[in-house]
Each structure stands twice: as structure tokens, then as C-alpha cells.
């Protein structure tokens, strides 16, 4: 369960005047429930990654607050980290380690001993169907294989909440379908899943709840049906354009 309330983050502009700030995220409030898939939908540069980074306690918000499973991201970062599995924008796995070693490493860092870690990695291999490449070094893995390893790593400590930053980026159709299946199953198991994307169809197909973000602000946050009815549109793409305050092209 994630509750974000007025999150904001500014960066200093590089090479510009002093004190000139770039707004990354200005006002982000939304709720992501357990057992549901929440999509953070927005164009490139809207502040999706920054929002997820704040929720993953990697960066500290300049104002606003958020809670993950009841823990504050600013005051109790370590508890938040115990509770989340975070899959960043790029898979970011170690090329000289095997898939198994990548997963075991993270398991050990979260505090399992070697035996428990290997057992947990075995379970994840089963769960994410990684048998074909489990014992190979990850150098040269396809994007789909890398994403699976990274997702397994994020799941290693059985987190209740999953934060996935554009997980389907760069995946082929089959890999994407496979990943969606996994995400659905995790949601059915009761996990809270928050994932970001700029692909309308994907969000429409997968999410129970959608938060549309534009220029660092949440424009609208509702179920798919709710968003369509409040914007008076038939598909999400048109609703998205209306929601971020643009005019529809007249045909």
C-alpha cells in the first residue's frame, strides 16, 4: 500500500544561474492499494522516475510526504526498503555473475544466509521460469532475460509492495506478455504493484487504477472507467490528452 501526499522534488540547473531550479516533481498525490495494479502513466520527463525514486527512498522529497505499508519514506527509510521491491529503469544486473549469483547476492544483502538465499533463488527461478539461463553469466542476456533476473532480485525478500519503473521497456511481444502474466499473478497474491509506463495500451490492459502524471503533477487518478467517464472519452489515449490539458486533434 502506497500513499503519496503532495510530493515535490527540485534539482539545481546545471550550468545555469545560481538558485535556478528545475522542477522534477511538483505535486504528486495518489494511493496504490494492496492486491491491485496501479499504473503511473505520463509522457517522458513528466516525473515518473523521480516519483518512484522518492518512494524507493533513493532521493528525499523537498516537500510532501509518502507512506509505504505504513512507514514514512522520510523518517523510516530502512523499514520502507524492507517492504518494497524496486525495479529501476534499466535492469542493472552484474554481467560477470550468473543469474543465480545475482539473485543470491541480493538475498544475502537483505540478510539471508547462503543456504536460505540459494533456496530463495531456486523458488524465484521456478516462479519466473528462468531455468534456461539460471546458471549462465548474464553477459549477453536478452532484455527479457535481464528483466526477469532483475525482477527476481527485487522479489528476493518477499516485499509486499513492488515498484517497477518502465519494466516492459525494450521487451519483445512474448516477453512483454510473459511479464504481464507475472505482474497479474503477483497482484492476485496480494502484492501492491505500482508501475510506470508511457504506453497507453499496456496501462489500459493491465492496471486496476491509473494515475496520469504531467509536468510533475498528477492530472487525474482513478480507475480506467472513472477516467474515461470524467473526461467523456472512449479510449485512454484521448482521455490522457484531455487530462493533461491539451486539445484533441479534430478529424
Amino acid at each position: 500500500m502506497i500513499k503519496a501526499n503532495g510530493l515535490a522534488k527540485f534539482y539545481k540547473r546545471k550550468g545555469g544561474k545560481k538558485n535556478e531550479k528545475v522542477v522534477a516533481v511538483e505535486d504528486v498525490s495518489f494511493t496504490a492499494e494492496d492486491g491491485a495494479i496501479t499504473g503511473l502513466l505520463g509522457p517522458n520527463g513528466a516525473g515518473k522516475s523521480t516519483t518512484l525514486r522518492m518512494l524507493a527512498t533513493l532521493v528525499v522529497p523537498d516537500s510532501g510526504s509518502a507512506e509505504v505499508d505504513g512507514f514514512s519514506i522520510t523518517n523510516d527509510a530502512i523499514s520502507v526498503r524492507r517492504s518494497i521491491g524496486y525495479l529501476p529503469h534499466n535492469a542493472g544486473i552484474y554481467p560477470r555473475l550468473t543469474a543465480e549469483e545475482n539473485i543470491v547476492y541480493f538475498a544475502e544483502v537483505v540478510g539471508l544466509d547462503k543456504k536460505q538465499a540459494q533456496q530463495r533463488a531456486g523458488e524465484l527461478c521456478e516462479q519466473l521460469e528462468m531455468h534456461d539461463f539460471f546458471l549462465r553469466r548474464t553477459e549477453g542476456f536478452s532484455q527479457g532475460q535481464k528483466t526477469k533476473v532483475a525482477l527476481a532480485r527485487a522479489l528476493v525478500h518477499k516485499p509486499r509492495t513492488l515498484i517497477l519503473d518502465e519494466p516492459t521497456n525494450g521487451l519483445d511481444v512474448m516477453a512483454m506478455r510473459g511479464l504481464r502474466k507475472i505482474i497479474r499473478r503477483l497482484s492476485e497474491e496480494g502484492h501492491c504493484i505500482l508501475f510506470s509506463s508511457h504506453v497507453m495500451q499496456e496501462v489500459a490492459a493491465l492496471c486496476d487504477h491509473i494515475a496520469i502524471i504531467s509536468d510533475g503533477k498528477i492530472a487525474i487518478s482513478d480507475s480506467l472507467a472513472g477516467i474515461l467517464s470524467s473526461t467523456g472519452q472512449k479510449d485512454l489515449e484521448d482521455a490522457f490528452v484531455i487530462a493533461i490539458g491539451e486539445q484533441l486533434e479534430l478529424e
Partner: protein, 390 residues
Amino acid sequence: MRRIRAVVLKEIKDNLRDRRALFFALIYGPVILPLMIIGPMLIGVKLNSIDFDKVTTIAVIGADKAPNFIQFLRENNIEVTAAPDNYREQIAENKLKLALEIDDIFAEQFTKAEPALLTLYFNGGDSDSQNSARQLRVIINRYDRLIGKLRMLARGFDADVLDAINLVEDDLSAEGEFGSKMISHMLPFVLVFAMTMGGFYLAIDSIPGERERNSLEPLLSLPLPRAQLLVAKALAVLAFVLFSGFIASLTFFLIVSLAPIEKIDEIFDYRFIEIIYAYILAMPLGVFMTSILILVSIFSRSTKEAQTHLGIMMIVPMMPLFALEFLNVKVSSLLMAAPIVGQYLLLGSIATGDVLTSAQIIVSIFSTLMFSIVVFLIALLVYRRERLVA
């Protein structure tokens, strides 16, 4: 502790699988470089040293004109052969080391107690020839003094009257021979350089490298405080630093003890235990180098940047070493207390044979370790900034 151990072991495993890193850490720094530095120096030692106990053969023109003198040469391990006719050309072309010409009027001059004429032909451009000439000059001077004294004695003088001053030269440094001294002085440099090379790639790979391959964000989202993560990474780097230093010590020992040069063990009386002692004294420098590697890596945004920065920064901690070599600084307790500098002096003392008090040793090690910790704390502060991921 278990988590820190997991990170340390992973970083070591990862680095062991990186062939390029391994080549630099275990072969280039601690084996190839010492060979390249010390090898030529050893050859230099061989060229410049004279072995008066070894029988040397020289060409003499007119040996029959001074039988007593020739006898004296033989007693001083000089074997005499007749010179070829074209000895001048042969010397010029390096085919003959040198030739000694005993003049026709040598015997006559000698009998009259006039300075008797000897001519020494040698090739100043050839170090072998120069060495032989040096050796012969020493022996001839001895003969000259001996005959002079005998003549004075025969005339009823005390020969010592002529010696206004009796200058005794005694080089009190341990070895005396310049080349071998240089090699001893290279030991700290060889150790420190090998140590730095040992941790170089791991530091780069595990800090800016981790960021570059995007594995830093997921790692930092785990419930492991950043400080512990950095401590673990530093320990992994330190392990390589110390291991490379150990290999370098072995290499140094093997080079000076196995080099196929006669009498090498007289020039270097290193025992293995002394090299190990030097290695132990170099350990605090290893800790310092680790801190520097970590700090510079954190400030670098990419591996390429880190390589550039470290390439420059590697030299900085070695500056005191060179300064001490060239400035010929006197060892004082105050200087020993200066971090890094004191440690170099400690290592240098092995080469010079100076004896340091255990208080000086402890102060030096303590100050170097403290300074390393300060550098590491700065690194920790920087590592905790969020700019790391943003």
C-alpha cells in the same frame, strides 16, 4: 556483519572474473613493473661493480721489461697476456677491453728512480673497459706507493713523513654501492605502486562502475545502510591492495635473490623476513591508498572519469616518496609523525639500515591510519549524498 561479508565476497568474486582487472592487479603491478624497474638497475650494478678477487686478464705490451711489476699484478689477480699488434683499433672497436704499455725506457727510469712511464689504453665509452681501467689504476697506485715507501726507507727516511694526512674514507651507509642502494630505495615505490594497481580496477568497477551499469539503484533500495555498503566495498578493495602488495614483495625478493649475477647476495643481504617486515610496514600505506581510491571513485561520475582522476591522484600520495629521495631529509620524530611521510621514512629505513625506535614506528603507523580514516570518512559523507543516484 553477514551482509557486509556478502558484499565483500561478491565484489572479490566479480573482480576475479574481470580478466583485465586481474592482469593489472596481480601481474602488471606486482610482477611486470618491478621487473622493468629493478631489472635494468641490477644490470647497472653488475656493470659498475669490480670484483678484485676474480682473476682478470689484460693485454700488456712489453711485459718482459718489468718482471717485478708483472709479478705484482699477478699477485693482485691480474693475468697478463701479450697484446695484439692492432690493440688500439681493437680497443676502439670494443674488441679488447684495455691494454697497458710498458715503455722501452721503463726499466732504465725505474732503476734511476725517475717516474717510470706506463701507458693505459682504454675505451671511455664502454663501461666494461672503464671498470677494468679503474681496477688496474687502483692496483698500480698500490704498487706506486709501495715502491715509493721502499725507496724512502732505503735512503733512511721514515716514509710516513710524506703523508701529511691519513684520510680514511668509510662510507657508513649499509651498502656503499650506489646502484644497489637505489634498488633498496625502490622497494617502497614498488610496494606502494603494486598496492595501488591492485585496488585500482575494483574501486572503479564497484563505485562509478556500479552506477554506470545501473545496478546501484536497486542495491541502494535494499535495507542496507549506505555506510555499511561502502565499508564492505572498501574492505574488498583493501583485500586486493594487500594481496598485490604481498605478490610485489615476493617478486622483489625473488629478483634480488635469484638474479644470475655473481655476488648479488653480498650486495643485498635481504632475508625473506626483512622483505615481509617491509611489507607489514607498507600495510598502513595500503589502507591509505584504499581510502584514496574509494574517495576519488566516488567523486567520479563514470568509470572513464575515474580512470583519469585516479591516474593523476595515484601520483600524489607518492610525491613524498620522491621528495624524500631527492631532498635527503634527516629523519626526525616530528617528521615520523607526519602521516604518509613517516611511513615512507619507515620503509626507507630498511634500505638505509637506520634504526628507528619503536615509539617512532608506532607514531608513524598510527598517524597514517588516522589520516586514512579521515579520508574514508569524507568518502562516506559524499557517498551518502543523493547526487549519487540522481
